[in-house]
Subunit: 236 residues, 2 copies
């Protein structure tokens, strides 16, 4: 398969991506999410709708792209001086953020796209936990098993947020944590290799609100109408 020609990530492409993402955020705040449309977002961003369709493909992919950026961490978990309180504070904040209306909407956006965004977001959570473990080791403290915390603290929290079958409380989160901490790595289930299994080194602490170099989404390469009965085959 031919390698794609080089993607342009500077200048106008970056500015347009920022403008479109900001437009999505503003419009999502002001309107019912289900009523967002691409022409509306394009008008708010000051671009042509076809720019959005060519770059992202459809509304769902755009919302997912924005959601992943919003879920991407911009700072390490707070350092409270001890691993237990670091983890506790992280989980408390995680639950509160994910169970908020904005958090729920972002998760739905992430799951609704065909892209591998959920896997990427799982990596964010694992990354935070890795940071807390590394910090504990730097202090010569006993750490915790990241897979245990993901399976028995993070997963139940996410499950109940997504299914909406019960309201979450801090007591509930604390009890999940206590349960994991009362039996550290013993009887850990086998965790077969997966895309996110390799743990990444924690990134340098960036501080809240720091600006990152924009990741520019390459344009969709799918040709023609989505339906198989498309009238005109694409040019590329």
């Amino acid at each position: 398969m031919a390698v794609r020609e080089r993607i342009r990530v500077g200048g106008r492409s970056a500015r347009i991506q920022t403008a479109v993402h900001e437009a999505v955020k503003r419009l999502a705040t002001e309107n019912n999410r289900d009523e967002l449309t691409v022409p509306q977002i394009a008008a708010e961003a000051g671009v042509t709708p076809s720019t959005i369709y060519r770059r992202w493909g459809d509304l769902s992919a755009l919302l997912a792209d924005v959601a992943v950026e919003r879920l991407r961490p911009i700072a390490d978990p707070e350092d409270t001086g001890a691993v237990a309180s670091d983890l506790r504070l992280f989980i408390e904040q995680f639950m509160e953020e994910m169970s908020s209306p904005v958090g729920r909407a972002l998760m739905r956006d992430v799951f609704s796209s065909e892209e591998a965004y959920p896997c990427q977001c799982a990596g964010f959570t694992r990354e935070h936990l890795t940071t807390i473990v590394s910090r504990a080791r730097a202090r010569d403290e006993a750490a915790f098993d990241i897979d245990q915390v993901l399976d028995h603290v993070v997963a139940p929290i996410i499950y109940h947020i997504l299914y909406g079958d019960r309201e979450l409380t801090l007591d509930y989160c604390h009890a999940l944590l206590d349960r994991v901490q009362s039996r550290p790595t013993a009887a850990a289930p086998p965790a077969p290799a997966g895309p996110a299994a390799a743990q990444r080194a924690p990134r340098e602490k960036a501080g809240r609100g720091s600006v990152r170099a924009p990741r520019v989404v390459p344009p969709k390469t799918r040709v023609g109408r989505k339906s198989a009965n498309s009238k005109s085959p694409g040019r590329r």
Copy 2:
């Protein structure tokens, strides 16, 4: 608020719903899911597209409605003679079904709609577990804590399927089960009341493939275009 006039659930309405659901299933099998359109489904079902828009609202709601019906259990979990093996078999089948491409697609459909479908689906799982517990009690066996199984077996399984961050194995599921069963109801976290907290009695065993009376979706009552700048307010 005025009570809605009575909904017609018989004859043509029921036939149209069945036809549309079957059309969705056939087209989803034959085509890329992301390429499904309402006009296409309408043609396959032999109805007018506006029928679908009026009844379901949009494609997303239709796919979710179909997904919930496909996820709705039509039979009790198999009876293997002992609670431990009942639960084990149930979890094995649950993981295999949910992690299949069809299972993943159905879950994404369920989460993508504004309706409270996820909560309903959570109820299905809880219902199965309740059946297994009731069966155990009928045999004078020690049962298990349903909340524990949901939090520490079902939730991790669903988490990894949704996030796609690792592949699931039967060993992994068995280990999750072993972990719960090695500490039955001790230290259960507080489970605050929620919509699905009240446990429903298990339904009479229906046998595989039994036919249920159709649930007919009432038409959408939302008026006008989704966008706030709709030109013509609806009649009803």
